[in-house]
């Protein structure tokens, strides 16, 4: 699984909704592959945010989500390509700074590189910050001889006057080095050639030997023959000898090593004895495990520094001065947070203004088709129940989902993706970190919230970028306070119907945007508050350390962004919504037409819920819509509309004005509208999100808590608000 939205939805669609597609997909795959072609496995490693996914996509033709912030890929994605009639399976590892595994994703990368038996490791490095990247290169090169170094983002480096001597780098590391620019595709062909060459002509390159201080080298020398005997060539003996020195404290590596070897190497008597002696000796020199680790890392970093100085020439020392100027504007005390809110506001404004007209157009078109369908059914003499189920149930609900959701998504997603590509999101995390710190949470939670705007399930998976389990849980539980694209159009529709008319026509878009921005800010505020409460109660603790890379700004490729976000994201999300809405529409039609006595089943359900729902400023239909919308929040508003339509005779619902009349005729007031919006913002996560939480936390308890906390928050807020409004109205 990967963090990428497209991928997640693909998986969901495969699993849940369309097994047929899955079957076709599989059969086409196997038929296109010549089964006997020689196969090689290629691991893709690199620091976070070096354009690894872009290169991976270029090679495999897959469309994984990319963006300019660290931590998008948190688990292995696989893809494949063919070259010279040979098959290469690519494994995209999560971005890591090192193999010394202090987090889950680093453990995944380390295990695959050390024990995954890949034929080649491609290490992608960012040419604009090569020095730090070399640390990982050297660590990998210590265990893997067959590597290809891909110096990426070379166009950006050139622009900044950073000159990298690729031949010198190749000589220093003893590996082929290819310069690439993933955005333009430059160098990709050469990269493929090199992957091929290294895979099939393996003897040419050696592992790198890093010179450690004498006492470490002595220890390695003593352990190496014993390790060779015990591990029998399964692992590089020098590397394993080095690791043995602190294996006891590195639980994660120890575990992986045991699994790989099939036995616990520390139980080997000779090794244990020797290790004991070495440790005593080191202790007598005053060197403990911590010093040892420091020395190992320092040696690697010093080597990286030396190589960097040999290979890189800078035109000017402050090659990032333009970035710094931008940072000064985007993160300063005076302008940082105002610009952030202004940007959010601007995106919402464009979305609302832009979505209004197309929404109506699409609705008109789709309901025209509905009329034609009705005529067709009538002429064909179809029974009215068939027409009811297919046209009034399934088609009409799906039509609502499309017309309400498509336009805002088609505008919001590309705009947001542009910000993401630019590298702005880490600055948001930087600006907001202080509030998360005060809530004893992690600053990267802001990044998971940004993902939540797309899809809360993705936001939850994104929480893996937070190392501390406590802070990760906080981010997971509160992610739902950010409205995903399924709830976002609902908010827009309600605002447009009920509140935009409160001001003069020329101010309508502005006013609506202010309301939407305020709604989102309420959600963000709830996130801080609930995070803080969690830190004081069930997830007691103080914040862990926090390091966040602020990557260089990159020029977004606007054309590509638009195409990508519309086809990969928007249509995907929409497709899922429509697929979920069809059975929901069917069910609504069924329960509103099946009658017990005089009343439909729908009536019984909503009447039952009604008194309870009224406490929170909602009504029975609204609450039931949220419950039925559990599989996907997109269908909440359509269900409300459908339910009202089944009980009324209004036919003009092709515009939001007509809709408003429908809602008001069913007793909607401003209070209802506000409470519905707040409840949409704060209620139980959708089914997919909860399943994801279950998978990520591996705990029914935390899944249940993630269900409970936003729901209780929503009920409390709506109850309080409803009460206050009623008291005020009563006193007036």
């Amino acid at each position: 699984m990967t963090l990428r939205e497209g991928d997640i939805f693909l998986t969901m669609m495969k699993n849940k909704l369309s097994k047929i597609i899955n079957l076709c997909y599989k059969s086409s795959k196997s038929s296109s592959a010549s089964k006997n072609a020689p196969q090689k496995t290629v691991a893709f490693a690199g620091n976070p945010n070096v354009g690894k996914s872009s290169i991976f996509n270029r090679l495999t033709g897959l469309k994984q989500h990319t963006g300019n912030w660290p931590g998008k890929t948190v688990a292995n994605a696989r893809g494949e390509f063919y070259y010279k009639n040979k098959k290469f399976t690519l494994v995209d590892l999560p971005g890591t700074y090192s193999l010394l595994a202090s987090s889950v994703e680093e453990g995944i990368a380390r295990d695959f590189i050390c024990f995954g038996n890949s034929d080649v490791v491609v290490i992608i490095v960012d040419s604009t910050c090569l020095e730090r990247n070399l640390n990982l290169v050297l660590q990998i090169k210590e265990v893997a001889a067959n590597t290809v170094i891909c110096v990426n983002i070379l166009d950006e480096a050139k622009r900044k006057g950073i000159h990298i001597d690729l031949d010198e780098l190749a000589a220093q590391i003893d590996a082929p080095v290819v310069g690439t620019s993933a955005s333009t595709g430059e160098g990709i062909k050469k990269l493929i050639e090199k992957i091929h060459d290294v895979s099939f002509d393996a003897q040419k390159y050696n592992k790198i030997k890093i010179n450690y201080p004498d006492y470490i080298e002595d220890a390695i020398k003593r352990l190496k023959p014993l390790v060779e005997q015990s591990a029998k060539g399964k692992i590089d003996p020098r590397w394993l000898s080095l690791k043995l020195l602190d294996l006891e404290s590195d639980k994660s590596l120890h575990h992986s090593l045991n699994t790989y070897l099939g036995f616990d190497i520390l139980t080997n008597k000779n090794i244990a004895n020797e290790l004991h002696k070495i440790k005593n000796h080191l202790m007598s020199l005053g060197i403990n495990e911590e010093n040892l680790k420091d020395k190992v890392v320092s040696s690697i970093i010093k080597k990286a520094e030396t190589i960097y100085n040999k290979c890189v020439k800078l035109d000017k020392e402050d090659y990032n001065s333009r970035d710094r100027k931008l940072d000064q504007i985007l993160t300063s005390k005076l302008t940082g947070i105002p610009i952030m809110i202004a940007l959010l506001f601007f995106i919402f404004w464009l979305t609302m203004v832009g979505a209004n007209y197309p929404s109506e157009l699409i609705a008109n078109g789709l309901f025209y088709i509905q009329d034609q369908l009705t005529i067709l059914f009538n002429n064909a003499g179809a029974p009215s129940w068939l027409h009811g189920i297919l046209v009034l149930g399934i088609y009409r609900t799906a039509a609502w989902v499309v017309s309400v959701m498509l336009p805002p998504m088609a505008i919001f997603f590309p705009l947001f993706t542009i910000l993401e590509d630019l590298g702005y999101l880490p600055r948001v995390a930087f600006n907001l970190d202080n509030y998360f710190r005060k809530a004893n949470a992690h600053g990267k939670q802001a990044l998971t919230m940004c993902m939540g705007f797309g899809c809360n399930a993705c936001g939850v998976i994104g929480c893996r970028i937070i190392d501390s389990p406590r802070e990760r849980l906080i981010a997971t539980i509160t992610n739902n306070f950010v409205p995903c694209n399924g709830r976002f159009p609902t908010l827009i529709a309600i605002i447009t119907m009920f509140f935009s008319g409160l001001v003069a026509k020329e101010y309508t878009p502005l006013f609506s945007t202010i309301l939407l921005t305020m709604t989102i800010l309420i959600g963000i505020f709830a996130t801080f508050l609930v995070s803080k409460i969690l830190s004081k109660t069930i997830l007691k603790g103080i914040h862990s350390s926090f390091t966040l890379e602020l990557p260089p700004y990159r020029k977004p490729q606007i054309g590509k962004v638009i195409v990508r976000s519309i086809f990969d994201r928007t249509l995907f999300v929409l497709g899922r919504a429509v697929l979920v809405s069809a059975p929901a529409g069917f069910m609504i039609w069924l329960i509103s037409n099946l009658k017990i006595g005089d009343l439909s089943i729908l009536h019984y359900c909503t009447n039952f819920l009604d008194p309870f729902a009224r406490l929170f400023g909602l009504d029975g239909v609204i609450l039931m819509a949220f419950i039925l919308g559990f599989p996907a929040n997109e269908i909440v508003l359509p269900i409300i509309i459908m339910s009202y339509l089944c009980t009324g005779n209004l036919t003009d619902i092709s515009s939001l004005d007509g809709l408003k009349v429908l809602l008001i005729s069913h007793g909607w007031t401003y209070t209802t509208a506000i409470c519905t919006m707040l409840f949409s913002l704060m209620h139980f996560p959708c089914g997919t999100t909860l399943l994801t939480i279950k998978k990520e936390t591996n705990s029914a308890k935390w899944t249940f808590i993630s269900f409970l906390i936003p729901t209780i928050t929503g009920f409390v807020v709506c109850f309080a608000l409803n009460l206050i409004i009623n008291i005020v109205l009563f006193l007036r």
Binding site: Y97, S98, L100, S102, T128, C129, L130, E131, R132, N135, E290, K293, D294, V297, S298, I301, K302, A304, E305, N320, D323, R324, D327, Q328, T331, S332, K333, G336, I337, P426, A429, F430, N431, D433, N434, R437, G443, D467, H543, S544, S545, F546, T547, L548, E549, L550, P551, P552
Partner: protein, 83 residues
């Protein structure tokens, strides 16, 4: 003149320094090391966030945001080439 050693979070904007020692332990220490923060590393303080915490530093060509509490555990001395 004795060399003045101070915690990293005291470093004013646009000033450079050299790491002398790390006071952190476990994961935090390892994370620092992974990012290339070892004794001898040059660090430049770049800019503050709106609330002065965290701050952004230039470390080995990368801009890293560190919270003041964490930067406090990194000891530095003034860089000699910095006038």
């Amino acid at each position: 003149m004795p060399i003045k050693i101070s915690p990293l979070d005291n470093l004013p904007a646009n000033k450079k320094a050299v790491v002398v020692a790390l006071l952190s332990s476990d994961n935090e220490r390892r994370r620092n090391l992974d990012l290339g923060i070892v004794p001898g590393t040059n660090i430049k303080m770049l800019f503050e966030s709106p609330n002065k915490n965290p701050k952004a530093y230039l470390i080995r060509g990368t801009v890293l945001a560190l919270r003041n509490e964490d930067a406090n555990k990194i000891l530095i001395k003034a860089n000699r080439d910095d006038s």
